[in-house]
Symmetry: C5
Subunit: 271 residues, 5 copies
């Protein structure tokens, strides 16, 4: 049964963020050849038939290296995690934090539109016909947005990752706001985002039931300043100002797994 208060969501890649601190003191003592072997074995451990893994050099103390894994299922994420932990490089890495989620498109507008259409076709909410017609529509939607559910990892230099919640405060509670009002706020929120189209690529993933916040946000851009401008401007729209809660922020420079050796040698690797 389709609950009219609950916006439909479409899901794509299973996602795992791994953040690692590097034990530079012991790594530094290895020869170039040894590092090359470590890098090669490590890159192989992250190879995937479907999906991809990307590397990010993080600024600050939270971690040195963030890996972002896109896979077809949690089974494959489990295999990747275990494979990485069996590499020799992992002896020089300490996983400090992580994030488990699934790429998600929230469909406020679409949910409302389908409900309207089906009401127009005189289908009654809660009836079997309604639900069947609803699912058909959603499947069509899913085909149309396949590229956004299973995107490539954007090849842009800077990456910003943070988890977030919708507030469930005692007087301001997102989950007690009527569907229509929430839809309006998400629309306004989306309009701000669209001003930054081209300059920022955004991938939202849902983590309810998987991790300690409700969503994960990955932003990719050529220039990091645009992250600050975008998130600051959004902070004034109602959906964020009143209802958003933000977790820790991770900021860094993306680089190709092929350039891992450069990183292990202590130099900033190319994208």
């Amino acid at each position: 049964m389709h609950n009219p208060e609950v916006p439909e969501t479409l899901e794509g890649w299973s996602v795992l963020h791994h953040m690692y601190r590097v034990h530079w003191a012991t790594l530094r003592s290895l020869s170039l050849q040894a590092k090359q072997d470590l890098a090669r074995e490590f890159s192989a451990s992250t190879a995937a038939e479907n999906g991809a893994s990307s590397c990010v050099h993080l600024l600050g103390h939270k971690a040195d290296l963030m890996l972002v894994h896109f896979r077809k299922s949690f089974e494959e994420l489990s295999q990747t995690q275990l494979a990485i932990q069996q590499t020799r490089l992992s002896e020089y890495l300490e996983m400090t934090t992580s994030y488990v989620s699934i790429v998600e498109l929230g469909m406020y507008e679409m949910t409302a539109k389908i409900h309207q259409q089906l009401a127009g076709r005189s289908l009654k909410q809660g009836s079997e016909e309604f639900d069947r017609a609803f699912d058909e529509e959603m499947n069509q939607q899913k085909n149309r947005v396949m590229g956004r559910l299973f995107p490539e990892i954007p090849a842009r230099r800077h990456v910003c990752f943070y988890p977030m919640n919708k507030r469930r405060g005692e007087s301001k509670n997102w989950y007690s706001v009527p569907f229509e009002r929430r839809g309006e706020m998400m629309l306004e929120h989306g309009i701000v985002g669209r001003h930054y189209a081209g300059r920022v690529t955004q991938i939202i993933s849902g983590s309810i039931g998987f991790d300690d916040w409700e969503w994960g946000v990955d932003l990719f851009a050529d220039e990091p300043l645009v992250f600050k401008k975008l998130i600051y401007e959004m902070r004034f729209d109602e959906a964020s100002a009143v209802y958003a809660e933000f977790g820790p922020f991770y900021i860094g420079l993306q680089f190709s797994p092929n350039n891992l050796l450069t990183f292990l040698e202590g130099r900033t690797p190319d994208l």
Copy 2:
């Protein structure tokens, strides 16, 4: 004396969740034979005359391995915990967190019904006759739901565990809401859950007096996406939207203790 504001509860298994980080770097250097010996001794330490223990490979940094123990008493949980700590494998494990609870069925509907029935029989609340009749009814209930108080651990691939509270905020306080209103909210909450019957198996355990949250929730499903769908939909019902507080979430893949060796070798074991 039966306090009419307090819903009755029925209790079953004593439950202990153990979460462990694996020291892969040192474990990896062992021979297959040595790992086999570790796995055999470890599995033996979790064997139980009554009850069972299950293994879960967790995604992310919180832990690698979650053990879920169902036992007849805290005495047996104590024995199991100490037995595991004496195994040789435990030298390669670091317990990062845990959860102590008892399988619990909350009986809002039943409590209300018995109170009504006994009032119909002209028994006065607080009288000895009332209490004796009440206890008799509850004992009959207990026999009827024995299978739900002492369930087997569901043999489904994905496991989601999280602790939760009912909010005791300054203006929204579950424990200040009248019994009847709480009962209505729990009923609505249950209806959402029933839409997922078949796709998700749920085991609730109570932890007031035992651990830092009020309840622990274990969900079992073939597909992990259903966890997100279920918990997201529930987040809009009043009992959750307004009154639920959630602790950390643990997500992973269940596997048989018989397949522990595969896990120790760094590959995802079968269910």
Copy 3:
């Protein structure tokens, strides 16, 4: 001067809870004889002319062993703490947390009664005669409740310890509620507790100025389920529902210091 808003308290034992994680991996390699020596020296270090020390095997990751020390003064607690830290067993123990407090009886009813009596004798609050008469009454009380101020550690199998505060929220603030209203709530709270008399033994200690919460609560029972039932029922009375804040919970099985060797061998020791 006796402030009529402040309930009088009577104090007894100085109390120190020590929670330790055991380093089983290294301990396990010792011979039975060596463990016996460790156990004997350790037990001797906790011996006290006045007061007592008890051992609890805790379930879960917070700690393996909780020691509860009752002593005549903080001087003696200091001596005990230092003596334990000089034992050889302490090399295998890591203190993960602790709690400092003094056994306390809160006297809402008594304070009110004495104020009334003295008013009846036409003594004026704040006068020297009033204060002298007040102190006399309190001293008589103290003699009457000596056994509750300096109790033995109850010889029951299960122990539950947790710290708690009275809430000082922006709208719900215990310390802004008038004395009389607080007294009524404490009375109601006490009535719930009395239903469990016989099944649970409770020792309250005050920790304002000594530790991070305002009170510590130790509960002792033969069956652990009664902890959950008692605390859950209390959660619905106003003093708890609206004004109580709870810290972490510690649950375990009490055993005699004479049985420490069994514990060190990795088996659940007898009470």
Copy 4:
């Protein structure tokens, strides 16, 4: 310019609290002679031309040893901190926490009085004459209270240290309350404190801009029970009940740096 909403403050000693955990297991293996050498070198490192350092044996797990340093400036605190870290004893110590502050006298009454006096002399707030006259008055005050700005460390057995804030909640906000009303509350707060004069010696230090709370409070007394009585009674006055937020509490027994060797041998040293 003197802002009439801001109470003037007078400042004295620069203060540094250092809390250390002792590594007893390794320390214990040293000979008496070796410990004597460590103690002598350590005591020398804390010697100061101006000011003093004191030792406290803390109860519980937070730390074993608290050093309280009073110095003329942050330069001298820096020198002391570095000198201690170069001693051989510091290899057996782990600094677990600390607190940076400056002895402070808050002058609500005095500020109000001077404002009144100057208004009586027809000096206009914000004028240069007003400010000059104000500074003159404050300098005279400073001379009068020199002994309280640069006190000796009180030679009393028990020490209680905790940091605190004035609340800045959404509805209860100390910094939004008018000056006069704050002054009244501080007066009432002071009266409670004066009932304990003689039994407790209190040193307040300000830490805004220096550490994570706004003030540090050091209490010294012969009997520790008086800390609990004093802080509990104060908790009912409006300044504390509604506006105080408390950090962690540290409680212990003061001893002379000359008795450090006794402490290193694992026995409670004399004051």
Copy 5:
């Protein structure tokens, strides 16, 4: 499009704060010559063509050494971080925390003025002409304040660093306050700051999207007492009293990287 609710900001240096604990016990055993080599290599690793790095000896346990790096881009911050981690001295350092930000000038007054001017020229908000004219004005501003966007690190002895947020509470929410009202509060806030001009040099950096708080604040002064006076006085203006949230405070003594050897020898180095 220029959102009239969002104040414009101008940005300068990319900033990275690194806080390190020093492992004095092992460092102390090195010869003077060895320390000199470590210091020289370390200082070289922080050299920058553009920008600068400064050293601060922190008081207390949070860290011993804070490095403040000003660079042209996150690329250069990445290079600096990796270069430092490859030095031999870094084996004796443990990064305990850090902060990532960009020097920022918030332009409430300027934003309002430009909006007014352009309205005076009959340019319509949201039109292309408006946006072009707006950007032109901002570029002129940027040229005027270049020195404040790319300042030198002030050569003053004492440094105070802390991160902060504007509150987004349920009833007090900075981001829901109209632009004009926010502008008034920032003006008042600035006036307090100007009373301290000369005595304190302040550098604000923005960290939305980069780190866990919204802004970082670095204060530099000859005397540390002025930090306490300034921040305390500001705490009473509405922008701070009602809307500011403060993170941890770091306080210490600045010294030249040329004097690093003195610090490594355990003595307070000169500015």
